[in-house]
């Protein structure tokens, strides 16, 4: 088991390295930091532009492989280089990474756990009204792009705020700048800002997972071993939880890894719409500003997270399916 995971970890590290390199080369080939200088008024002297670009390893007149070599050599020391305006990418990343991780971790845990529960519950109550209602609701949410869902929730929050006459929900930024007060005031303020963005992502996740889990659960519920479990005297609840749900979780564990890329994309929209200064918002800004090194850094972050999700899903797989443990 440990050997299997170690092997997976090693191949994941290789994949991260290759994926980050691919992202860097694509970004370096398609984005042009030079245009940032050309747009200035008055235009800076050519020599200055060259010097600035060279200093940050962004000069498109340097062969791309040479630029890649410089970038990779620095990355081995975990140095992501500088933005086109000379600020450190590492420092910016340190500021933003926590914001994104908070959103992602809460949404992943709440979304997958609640989604699995809702899906399993729907399968057990198949053909009843509650099952139909939940299935249809998840179908509608599934068909709503995150950037529409976010705005709809924002509109609802504005309505609630107006009805209550106080700002219960906040929808810009992740905290109120310059807010006076002790720990609790700050904590409550952060919570108020956290609710809407997290809820958007969690709702989308619940919709996806519940649909998937419901189908997996329906496949299992009809099988012989669940009937046997009940026939040998287990209570229905135990049979459903220990035998049916456990087996039905296996396909969802695989799906978890596949779905993570979509979750990251969703978080990018949410950060931009709700004004959170996280990695996703940074990515959008960096592509618009032709910031090659920053784009590569966010891609690297995304690759690490996707592979980490893959590792987690392997782990879950091994815990749920005894056959894997024997085989590895």
């Amino acid at each position: 088991m440990a050997k299997f995971l170690l092997r997976r970890l090693a191949s994941s590290i290789v994949l991260v390295a290759i994926a980050a390199s691919l992202a860097y080369v694509l970004a370096a080939a398609s984005l042009s930091p030079r245009s940032n200088f050309e747009g200035r008024n008055p235009p800076p002297p050519a020599a200055v532009v060259e010097r600035e670009l060279d200093a940050r390893n962004l000069n498109d007149r340097t062969p791309i492989l040479e630029r890649y070599g410089t970038w990779a050599a620095a990355l081995v020391r975990l140095d992501f280089g500088e933005s086109w305006d000379g600020t450190s990418v590492n420092a910016e990343m340190a500021r933003r990474i926590g914001v994104s991780l908070r959103l992602l971790i809460i949404a992943t845990i709440l979304g997958s756990v609640l989604g699995v529960l809702v899906g399993a519950w729907g399968a057990v109550r198949q053909h009843r009204f509650s099952d139909h209602a939940v299935t249809f609701a998840s179908f509608v949410i599934l068909s709503t792009p995150v950037f529409v869902l976010a705005v709809l929730l924002e509109i609802a929050a504005v309505g609630v705020n107006e009805a209550v006459g106080a700002s219960v929900f906040e929808y810009t930024g992740e905290f109120t700048p310059g807010l006076e007060g002790g720990f609790w005031t700050q904590a409550v303020d952060r919570m108020q800002h956290l609710v809407l963005p997290t809820l958007t992502l969690v709702l989308a996740q619940i919709a996806i997972f519940s649909r998937y889990q419901r189908n997996a659960m329906l496949d299992v519920l009809g099988s012989d071993f669940v009937r046997t479990a009940q026939a040998k005297g287990l209570r229905r609840r135990t049979a459903l939880l220990k035998h049916a749900l456990r087996t039905a979780l296996i396909p969802s564990a695989t799906f978890f890894a596949y779905n993570f890329g979509l979750l990251l994309t969703g978080a990018t929209f949410i950060e931009t719409i709700f004004g959170w200064h996280g990695m996703g918002e940074w990515f959008i800004e960096s592509v618009t500003r032709n910031d090659v090194n920053a784009v590569a850094a966010v891609s690297c972050f995304a690759a690490v997270l996707v592979l980490f999700a893959g590792l987690l899903s392997d782990l879950a797989y091994a815990v749920l399916d005894p056959r894997i443990r024997v085989g590895a």
Partner: protein, 300 residues
């Protein structure tokens, strides 16, 4: 082949009275039996009509500006209201629908085709072909396709939107390819494939003549569901300005423009967003109905 006992060439008397319905007849009947799928199909057809006939119903085009009406609400003159610069929201929205629908269809077609090719070749030939192709799939799955297309967006800026379609399709095929590969591996050892191989048919011929037709159900279902995935991807990228470029519009750019005034000027956001959700919802309903009709063993 399958189920052709009901048609007798030459107009002779039927040999037996039991009519064996053709496979597609069965599929069609099952599909029509599902109310929601049928509703999805009807709504989708209406949306297509709105997108392609709709522009001729109003004197305004999507580039026209009405300098007498800025930010006015829906009226008889401007059915969906006007924008900050006096653009007719109805004309813009139907134009955006056209773009989003066409891009969605093309991307789904390309990406499912690519997935079928890559998956079946990897599964049929195995060995180093399989390893190379599946390694590529794994690599592309590591980076979210949104990131890759966004990074490459300057390449098609100022050029034809078809380049955008190709790029979008190039990063949406991976999961389907894996499924196709798995199915191909299970078909590879079937008798009819072996027979074809011993008759001396080449690998690619066997794939096109025997393997792909036998997984056509999966490909049809997947192509349909890929339409909605592609539309969501396209509108998402356009939302950030990484997709369809002005002066052309898509539902994504319209929603992006309307987002900030969604509460104050709801018509800027509501019509585009509502129609987008309606399109994706009906495509998903049709895809789901197709899945149930083609593959009754799956799901409820």
């Amino acid at each position: 082949m399958r189920g052709q006992a009901d048609e007798r060439p030459g107009g002779g008397p039927p040999l037996d009275e039991t009519r064996v319905p053709s496979r597609w007849g069965v599929v069609l009947r099952r599909f029509l039996g599902r109310r929601l799928a049928l509703a999805g199909l009807v709504v989708l057809a209406l949306l297509f009509v709105l997108a392609f006939v709709g522009p001729y119903l109003t004197p305004w085009t999507y580039t026209d500006k009405d300098y007498a009406a800025f930010l006015s609400g829906p009226s008889t003159d401007h059915w969906f209201g006007t924008t900050q610069t006096g653009g007719d929201v109805y004309a813009l929205t139907v134009r955006g629908m056209q773009k989003s629908l066409i891009i969605g269809l093309l991307v789904a077609l390309f990406s499912t085709g690519l997935a079928a090719l890559v998956g079946s070749f990897a599964g049929y030939f195995g060995g180093w072909v399989d390893r190379t192709l599946m390694w590529m799939v794994e690599l592309l799955l590591v980076l979210p396709s949104f990131l890759l297309v966004a990074i490459l967006s300057p390449l098609f800026r100022g050029r034809t939107w078809l380049l955008f379609v190709v790029l979008l399709a190039a990063f949406l095929w991976m999961v389907t390819a894996r499924i196709v590969r798995g199915m191909t591996i299970s078909l590879r050892e079937r008798e009819y494939v072996l027979a074809a191989r011993y008759m001396g048919l080449s690998g690619p011929r066997i794939i096109f003549r025997h393997i792909l037709p036998n997984i056509s159900s999966l490909l049809i279902i997947d192509a349909t569901l890929n339409v909605s995935a592609a539309i969501i991807a396209e509108t998402g990228l356009s939302y950030f300005g990484f997709g369809v470029q002005p002066p052309d519009v898509s539902l994504g750019t319209l929603i992006a423009d309307g987002t900030n005034s969604a509460t104050t000027f709801p018509w800027l956001f509501g019509f585009a967003a509502g129609l987008l959700v309606l399109i994706v919802l009906s495509v998903n309903l049709v895809g789901d109905g197709l899945r149930d009709a083609l593959d009754p063993s799956s799901g409820a």
